[in-house]
Symmetry: C2
Subunit: 215 residues, 2 copies
Amino acid sequence: MPERTTTARATPDERRRQILDVACTLFAHHGYAGTTTKAIASAAGITEGLIYHYFGGKADLLVEVVNQRSALLTQVRTLLRDEGDAPVVRTMPLIARGWVELVRRQGDLVITMVSESHAHPEVGAAFQGLLDEIRGGLEGYLQRRVAAGELRADLPVSVAAASFLSSLLMFFYTRADLDEAAWQVEASRFTAALLDVWLHGALAPTQNPTQNPTP
Amino acid sequence: MPERTTTARATPDERRRQILDVACTLFAHHGYAGTTTKAIASAAGITEGLIYHYFGGKADLLVEVVNQRSALLTQVRTLLRDEGDAPVVRTMPLIARGWVELVRRQGDLVITMVSESHAHPEVGAAFQGLLDEIRGGLEGYLQRRVAAGELRADLPVSVAAASFLSSLLMFFYTRADLDEAAWQVEASRFTAALLDVWLHGALAPTQNPTQNPTP
DNA sequence: GTCTATACGGAGATAGAC
DNA sequence: GTCTATCTCCGTATAGAC
């Protein structure tokens, strides 16, 4: 078995990972086209030439970075499966918090996908595919809660799921620069309020004058 | 007074506009860093040198493009003012449709702002400022409808407004490539369903067992 | 596996003729 | 106001030594 006495750091796989991580961060902060191979090498503490030992070219970096979304998708699936068929008032807050924290932890990847969506059709397709799968998962859960009679029968589940996820995603996207402490506070507030609106709607309860004026 | 007999097209102001329009379109499709001055000149039917006669440099183009957002803001303000204090079931559909059509007509600008948000802090700030002002406007309207008793008193108006706008914005952002016909269909459907969820919420009406089992 | 050195093209920008 | 010509630098990518 391969033994390492001292020093000798960074196995090939670690290097690949490291380069991809650095690239992802820089892509998020400066955009793909705005990130130079020199900057990537410098931030990774290596030379430009080494990048081409591990990857075919700069374009490959973007592809491989975006492919890491599958890990993100897996985590969301776990999130949805774990909360199987519990009532929405219990599950939705967990999904909301899980989704928002997941997006934040994978923030650079998400920012890169959103930012490069329109410049690189493949990225746009990957991003939309990811959102669609996640929305589909949530949709399935909502459908089951409709069947259980907990959600209204005429709820447009697909749009309800999309709206829920979009709102949290946009929230993250516009506050990604917050430090961890401020983020926790704002994310909690926003999530709670969003759930309130999403569950109960904006309208005042039954002010229909022909029925139940004051019950 | 300045007279023009024939030909002699493109006044200085028209040229500026034209260059900015072309730049905005290309920024949206290839990103700022991915757009070359050569490409802008070529698409505008002029030479690169002329760009520098009208603008200080490429960076100025981005700034001026993003500054066009004020026009967008004005239009939203008009939209909100015109529908003053009418009931939500009448006004919100108009706001939804107006917002979504506005965003689509100014699609290249919106895509550019979103895409370049994190690479260029000034753009990010401009974008967030724009969203904040629009949300604030909608929030004011909602607050008045709360006062009128039409919306529930405990509605988190700020988040309700943000969620409404975010959902429509993300919808546009992920379907910007649809052709006009398909767009009209999908936008109508989405908008109607979103309003349904937003107004009435997802929960089934009062299945509280201690009260009104079947009224 | 990692670095040095270098080729090559293209990017933004300027000068000056018309 | 518009174009042609050109400058300079920097970006990606390769070759080859260690």
